[in-house]
Symmetry: C2
Subunit: 654 residues, 2 copies
Amino acid sequence: MSQQSAIPFEREALDSVLKRRFFFAPAFEIYGGVSGLYDYGPPGCALQANIVDTWRKHFILEEDMLEVDCTMLTPYEVLKTSGHVDKFADWMCRDLKTGEIFRADHLVEEVIEARLKGNKEARGIIEEAAEEDAEKKKRKKKVKEIKAVKLEDSVVEEYETILAKMDGFSGKELGDLMLKYAIGNPATGEPLEQPKEFNLMFETAIGPSGALKGYLRPETAQGQFLNFSKLLDFNNERMPFASASIGKSFRNEISPRSGLLRVREFLMAEIEHFVDPQDKSHASFHEVKDVTLRFLAKDVQSAGKTDIIETTVGKAVASGMVDNETLGYFLARISLFLIKIGVDPARMRFRQHMDNEMAHYATDCWDAELQTSYGWIECVGCADRSAYDLSVHAARTKEKLVVRQPLETPLTVTRFEAEIEKKKFGPKFRKSAPLVEQWLVSRTECELEELAKEMAANGKIVFKVEGIEEDVELDTSFVVIEQKTRTEHIREFTPNVIEPSFGLGRIMYSIFEHSFWRRPEDKDRAVLSLPPLVAPTKVLLVPLSNSPELQAVTKKVSAILKKAVIPFKIDDSSASIGKRYSRNDELGTPFGITIDFESVGDFSVTLRERDSTKQVRGSVEDIVAAIKEVTYNGATWEEGTKNLKAFETKVEEE
Amino acid sequence: MSQQSAIPFEREALDSVLKRRFFFAPAFEIYGGVSGLYDYGPPGCALQANIVDTWRKHFILEEDMLEVDCTMLTPYEVLKTSGHVDKFADWMCRDLKTGEIFRADHLVEEVIEARLKGNKEARGIIEEAAEEDAEKKKRKKKVKEIKAVKLEDSVVEEYETILAKMDGFSGKELGDLMLKYAIGNPATGEPLEQPKEFNLMFETAIGPSGALKGYLRPETAQGQFLNFSKLLDFNNERMPFASASIGKSFRNEISPRSGLLRVREFLMAEIEHFVDPQDKSHASFHEVKDVTLRFLAKDVQSAGKTDIIETTVGKAVASGMVDNETLGYFLARISLFLIKIGVDPARMRFRQHMDNEMAHYATDCWDAELQTSYGWIECVGCADRSAYDLSVHAARTKEKLVVRQPLETPLTVTRFEAEIEKKKFGPKFRKSAPLVEQWLVSRTECELEELAKEMAANGKIVFKVEGIEEDVELDTSFVVIEQKTRTEHIREFTPNVIEPSFGLGRIMYSIFEHSFWRRPEDKDRAVLSLPPLVAPTKVLLVPLSNSPELQAVTKKVSAILKKAVIPFKIDDSSASIGKRYSRNDELGTPFGITIDFESVGDFSVTLRERDSTKQVRGSVEDIVAAIKEVTYNGATWEEGTKNLKAFETKVEEE
């Protein structure tokens, strides 16, 4: 589409259209706004609803997933168990004089980058407009000016090493870096307080006593895990199966930026696919194995490169680059979905998490990243989370979250087990006895093996239990840990979870960028080439004039469109036809129906296609049928209108 | 449908089906649950999605409303202005010994009712199982036993007066009643702390500093009001128009009860119809004027009665019972919507708010109430809120939230105006000067007239301004308030708002009750007669056996249903056909397709209708077409299947 790239992309031009057409706007704007909170206006809201609807059909309906709708309010205990209370945090540091708060890692990175840039300027090295990644570009605001100061070679090297390791620093380390390199408030140069951990969840109290601490969920996943047993039952105990959920999640960003890309309240769509850890094949894998994706593998990144491997999902799984069929299946399905709703495949890649980036329990993880003017944006995560989530909730609640399958032939199994002398625990540990017992029964096979070795070596085991201050010491009179051999008739296992997780706001913004262009003949005429399927409104009805005859036809056509449940708008303003169409090009409306005086006689109308501005003419019935074909049945404009007459007009230039 | 009412309704039987089929369940159940929070399982979630979809089509699409999606997180200032910070509260009282917390009004009412009941028992008066209203029945748990104690006649009279005035008591008055009548903790008899106000909004802090106080919205309306000017602009300045929003709202109930009827997180759908205060006619009123509704008018209630007036909306508006056409239009549309999604019209009424029940600014307000085993439940509110919301936000933010219309003929207007001597305010009031000025400019016409009178009488005006401790005193050297006459070319007005507001969870629960029945031949066979349009799943595919030939046909039929985007499930378990159908009757699935050995030969199948268990036979194509007709195009079973052959079978009894 060379026409569409004739005028270079400018973010300001897009932002101006999105604002003018009320796709979205800062929430509470008349009150001065609250950063990181946005309201969607009618076209944004309709686009979002259509994307959600497409998602529901593409994933839930097509694959028979079990959709659930769980509460956003979540009690402390659940998120303590999931790890969010302890780990869902960023490091912040405060300027005690001005009260300003900075996100520590972003600040250090930004200041160091600015200094490196200043060094290059001082040395007279001209920076190429290198592709920068999203995270960096977004944060450009704190450091207002780059000073051309030359740095020692050794310092440059140190700085570059720091940047490379940026994602791995602890709060203490960030604080040390700030001291060592005199990184303070960029505006004043004043030193800042040492970094403190800031939990990103919104906290609240549930109920009148204030005693039940709760949070707004940071993801929709936990509700799905907690309902696992009910879902398995609903699915008649069959495995594998997937649950899914669409809903708002919350993240109390330290300093939100970049419009819809980093916000405090956002719509997510998440799938939890529960699978047998011993069999991660997928029954429909053959349907997607030939889908070609652009992969950025972890070993490529570890080598400091960003080379893309373009290959089919089938080959990617066969070669072991993608861990298993189910994961591969979802990568392909994610790609098909994103393309369906308007993502440019050339600006989509699947980036694998590097080993140090992944949670310790994860087996493999890929992000669908979309390229925008902010860089490559993580829009969909697709992780194999192993049995982590179900295991921790089961351990905490003592509810079994497992699958039980009858074995065709009984199995003889040898396994480490801890046999607890319960009677002795009460007298020794009193109130804490259940904690110690619980600790023992929640050990994994591996941990038990280690404990057995320790016991054999020292005659006792020593360990820490959360909630008990002193070390716990047990000898064999309290617990015997040894291998036992049993015959099992039932196989009981905790399913693994493969989790495709969609950030719909980020996807939506990327689609805006991917579908935005301006007509070469007039750069003020912007177009959003949203696919008809997700476009907020499908048709603009344009009567040529405001005469009563045309009004009557407009009314009749409206009734037909309403009956066909095709979202449309009427523009009977006095603006020229060209102006009216151009307004709706900005809204991404794919079709226009012009009602003219000929329409009064034979009830024929003209249909205009947004991107090409081509027009065809036919009876209202045929035109509506064509709109339906192209919008909902995947036909191209050419296919959908092949029986209609081409129509020449000059109104576009008016 | 006498068959459907042959076995009397039992709430326990319905609850058991809803739980067993995972329509919904207590959230965080494996953690012990949190009262007032529920998760929707797959059928509940699908039913909810279908109701939302129907709502969107019925209201937004059909009437071209402007849908917005605003944030749930809301800063303090917005809800302070709207009145929620000060008034969205209940009275609670605490038992200082046990820590228990009671909602004061519910407690007083409940204890007094129990005493009156005990009195009747003591006097040997047999209580008839009178219809009780929902609020009462729900709260029955606190008072565990009724003691047969005779009361003095005078006390009975006092008690009855108290009950009649129950909704109007202040916290102080409730506290006095508790002291006077020795109302304490029903379990122990111990006295309680005096009632304290408990705000029902969930509070949180936005951003890292903790300084920006926020709440979870208690309704979706505020976001719509705040975006009024953008919406008016989007609508090309045309009036009237409506915005709409579907989303979660929150209410931190003191003690939630009654399943889905009183919860802490719930889905709402709200419309804000902005209308010229001088013209509340509605362009489509003629389309609904003949719709008959069951009205419970305010004067009937004031007279202590509940007689229903059954009449058309046209007559209700003409007689003045319903204040205006737009309000009447929405009452009719609400009724049509509720019936479409499965509400029993005989168990629906529109109850008008009594004058002392309505907010001071409201012109008229009607609730669509649905009758359930908990009594009559308020499910949709429909209020004419006058210009209140836009006015208060405009006054607070100094942003004009008005419509400006050119006048065809200029108008001469005489109005009270306050002319402020700005220069004198600074020296006298210092920092508080803007507060005083703001107070003056936000007075209404009426208030200005009063102030003018006060000034004329006393030579000064004295008033209180929020944020200033002392009274403010001004004489004519500071402000002149008098009538001015001007010629206006533009009419500027603040629109009035008519607000239909739907509690979707309550509606859903009512539909469960309205559609639940048990087959007379076997009361364990329960049916949810949900309309096909909103039923979670439309079709159950039932292969007669698990043979490969039938599996192949099942696969083909599945593909056809998928292509037609008809939500279906396959049940190829080994249970009998009868059992499989009966399981799906409980899920409200309206159709079943049986695949038998004849299907292998001629690709014909049997279609079963859930309520009548009638069956017809035909080709898969014809059967799918019939399903589409009945489900999405409003055809009855008879109309949809008129070209299909009736089919007799005995499988139901298996």
